[in-house]
Amino acid sequence: MARQKLVEVSDSKAGDGTMGEIYFKRFTFNQLAQHWIMIGTFMLLVVSGMPLKFPDAWWSPVIINFLGGFEMRTQIHHAAGVGMVLLGIYHVVYHVFVDKDSLLDRKVWPTLKDAKDFWQTIFYYLGKAEHPKFGRYSWKEKFDYWGAFWGMVMLCITGLIMLFPFKAMELIPYAYVHLATIVHTDEALLATLFIFIVHWWNVHYSPEVFPMSKAWITGTLSEEQMKHEHPLEYEEIMRQMQERDERLS
């Protein structure tokens, strides 16, 4: 991740003489845009793909007719799929080669603390422990990221095999094209269930953020949210700012 401005002071509410509310920058525009494209392609792929995963379901022909027929369904799925493949390539190329930060310094790698936090979260839900204090990314967010990463790899590879089956069969036996359909649809079902149940709970349904956390649009969190959801990150930023102030003064 490129060096980001740590704090953004919003002046939107300024003018009444008090200092405006402080917003903490969490995502760059680049990251937000990747997420938006991801949302668009993912939803198109789910809607146009699931009727084929469950061809006997009553809603399958309903959705296919809604999309404009079977051929159109295929076109939509292929177009959105190519979009998602390009997004995946862009993501890896950008964050590995363009972003100059050392790969090892990225905050998204799983750590031992995440495993501890996982158990502590369960105990917290059961009322037996304090809520764990998260850093820049909580274990849930890391799991979301790596789950999506693994899913993208599996779905893009198998999807390309199915998009060019006859090219693929020059390299692999027909059986593996069939296996690609199994991996593709099963992985897609897992991804869909995870996004609709778990991810949407965390960012939409949960009373804490309902109807939604606006971070996916603005890329920022308020000071209060920051203290609640990422206290370690908040403390770190405050410490750095203090150091900088001391150095400047």
Binding site: I64, Y125, M169, Y174, A175, L193
Partner: protein, 318 residues
Amino acid sequence: MLFTSKNQHVSLKKIVILITVIAFSLLITTVSAQEDVSCYHCHTQVVSEFRNNIHYQKGFSCDDCHGGKAQPNTTVISYTVMSGDFIGRPTRSNITNICSKCHSQEAKDYKMSIHWEQIAKGHPEAATCTDCHGIHEIRAISDPNSSSNHQNSPATCAKCHSNKELMSAWYYGIKTDRFDTYKESFHWKALKKGYALVATCSDCHGNHNIKPHEDPKSSTYPDNLPKTCGKNNCHPDVQFDAKIAAGLVHDKESLHTGELVFNKTGMNPQMKDYFIGPFDLAYWIAFFFKILTTGVIAVFAGMVFLDFLSRVKIHRRW
């Protein structure tokens, strides 16, 4: 007085009967005057079916197939109907001869098929013209309701080929899961959703001169598959080799039981591709995803539920 009244009564009865008979005759004459197909009065059901027949629309009538002399607009049973070359209900092995009177090329092709080979061997239950095209309700191939229309081909073939009793007869021993396995293919899933261009039975296996896949002349003989799949309106620009084309089109979950196979001699080479060591990947990959999906969703949905419960108990969290 008594006699006259009785006579009067009888004559009234006679008149009623007379009127009824006249009315009935009139009714039949009126109705049959509108009938351009003979045999209607007795074979009502058959003639109603025949009205959907392409041959009816082209001006043919009962006697063109059944022989004899059919007379339209008759109110009495015609003795001449069953005269001359009248054949009534043809035997199964004789049906081809009737159709070949006009459809000579089709009959010639058909006589090269495995179906005719079996009939000639004395197994008349093998498919003949009427099994695929219908009996009295023969429609044009282009009619979507025709049983031999492209998209109805799977259901039509399945009438016999999914019939275990018929197929397991000792002299056939043909697999009865062909329609079920076809249903696993993209071809069927697309067809069912109204994308009618995809391959159905007859596109790969042929129609009149259909042959078993062991026959080198069959379109589904492994060496001929590249040509069959690469037909102009199917997959024309694809370089097929026999290895690619001979994929398991007839495949389904139940073929992949997950049974560990250590000795694979004699196994279909396409099936062999699914194996790494003794493990059938089609089964074990699906198994892996069942465990993974159930596990991940159970754990995380469980946590969502616990999260929800904890919020019910604790109003403000932090």
